[in-house]
Amino acid sequence: MLRRFNQLGVLFMFLLGPLFGAWLVTGTLSSSMTLDILPLTDPLLLSQSMLSGNWPALTGLVGAGLVLLFYALLGGRVFCAWVCPVNLVTDLAAWLRRRLGIRGGVRISRHLRWWLLGLVLLLPLLTGGMVWEYVNPVSMLHRGLIFGFGWAWLILAAVFLYDLLIVSRGWCGHLCPVGACYAAIGAAAPVHIAAPRREQCDDCMDCFKVCPEPQVLKPALKATRLKSGGNHGPVIDSIDCTKCGRCIEVCDQDVFGLALGWVDKHGFGKTHLSGQNPIAEQTKLQH
C-alpha cells in the first residue's frame, strides 16, 4: 500500500543515518536537515518555542515556512496519514479492534483536539516552557526510534491501549493537537477525496468502517441537505479528512476518487459551478 510505503519510507530515511551511517536526513520530524540543504521544521513546535518568548534562527523559520506551504497545498492531515509514525500505532489498534470485534467504549467529542491545541499553545505563554513536549507521543515516538526511547514507549503503549480498548480512533481522531494544527494549516488546500460516482453506492458501509474520520464521509457520499438549501456536493470538504485514500481502495463500487481544485462551501468543485463535470480533474488513485 502506497501510504504505508510512504510512512515507512520517511522513517527509513531518518533511520539511515543512525543505523547505517548514511546521513541523508539528520534530526527528527521536529526539525530536520536533508542533504545539508533542505531545512524542515514542525510549525507547531516552532510556534510553541516563539510563544515562550524566543525568536528562532533563520533555518527554523525557513523550515517551518516550507512545511506550512507544503501542507497548505496538499492538505494538512496528509501529514497524519502519510508521514506521522504514531499513525502506524493507532492504525494497528484500529485494525485489531476491527479484527477482535471490540465494540463500544467511551464516546468523546472530536472537538477535544481543538481544545488541546489551544492548551498546547497557551502553556508556553503561561509557563515559559515547552510543556507539551514532555508528553507529546508524536515526537516521543519519532525521537525514540532515532535517538532511543527511555520510558517513552510507555506513552506509546498508553496511546495504543487507549485506542484499542477505550475510544475507537481515540488519539488521532479525537485528541491529537498536532493533527488539529495540521488540519488548520491545510484548511484551504486544493486536494480532496471525493465521491464523484456516489449514485453507485450500495450502502455496504465498508468505507465507514475503514475511515479514521467517518463523520467526514456522509455529507459527500449521501448528498445531505444543507441548511442553506440544496444538497452537499460530492467533494469531502471537511478539514478532518486525512486523505489516506482507504475509502477509494475499499469501495467495490468504485465510488471514490481524488479531486483537485478549490472547493466551495457546499462541497462542489469550482469547475462544477462553471457548468462542467463536477470532478473534471479527478484522477483515480491506483490500488
Partner: protein, 239 residues
Amino acid sequence: MNRRDFVFDSLRTAAGVGLLGLGLGLYSQRAASLPAWALRPPGAQPEDDFNGACIRCGLCVRDCPFDMLHLARLGQDIPTGTPYFVAREAGCEMCEDIPCVAACPSNALDHGLTDINKADMGLAIVSDQDACIAFQGQRCEVCFDICPIRGDAITLETQYHERSGQQALLIPVVHAETCTGCGKCEEACILDEAAIKVLPRHLIQGQRGEHDRLVWERQPTRPTYSGIVLDRRNDHRAS
C-alpha cells in the same frame, strides 16, 4: 442541542482541559529541572529560556563532530528530548565554527555566539584538594595541559610545600572569567573520581558586592614598597 446544553458542555470541556493543563504545567515544572552533572551545549540560553526555546529535534547532537552530545530520554532526570553532555564522559572540544550552534533551528543555542572562547557551559572547580595529587606535591598538570584555553582558564601556581620546605607545589587554579566550562579538565583528570569538576556556573561562582573594590585595583599606579624590594605580590593578578 439547546443553548443551555451547549454552554454546560463547553464549560465541562473547558474545566477538564483546564485540569489537564494544570497537571501538565505542574509536571513540567518538576520535569524541567536540570541536574548539576548535565551540561548544555555551547551557546545555550539560560536554562529557563532554553527549556521554552528548544524544540527537541536533535540537530545539534547530530552535527557535533565528536558525538559528545546526547538527547535526554524519558525517565532521565533531564528534560526529555533536550541536548546535554556529561563532562566526565566527554567534554566539549570547542570547535571554532561551533557546528552545534549553527545547526540549531530554534536559537535555543544562541546564534549570537560566534567565538567559542566566549562560551559559557559551566565553570570548573578544583573540588577536592585532598584528592588532587598536585596538592600532595606530585607533578600532574593534566587539567592544565588539556585546557583548550591553556594558561588562561587554568593556571599553575607555585606554593610553599610544608614537607619539603620548598616552593614545590604546582597547584591548578581555575579562573572564572576565562573558563568556558567545556569539561575537558574533568574528563582528563587522572583520578578514579575527578578532583576537578565542571558545574553550572551559578552553583559555584561567587560575586563581590557592587561597592567592593580591591585596593590595588582602585590605585593601580602606585607601587607599594616593603623594605627595599618592590613588592610584586599584589601585582600579578591586577595587570
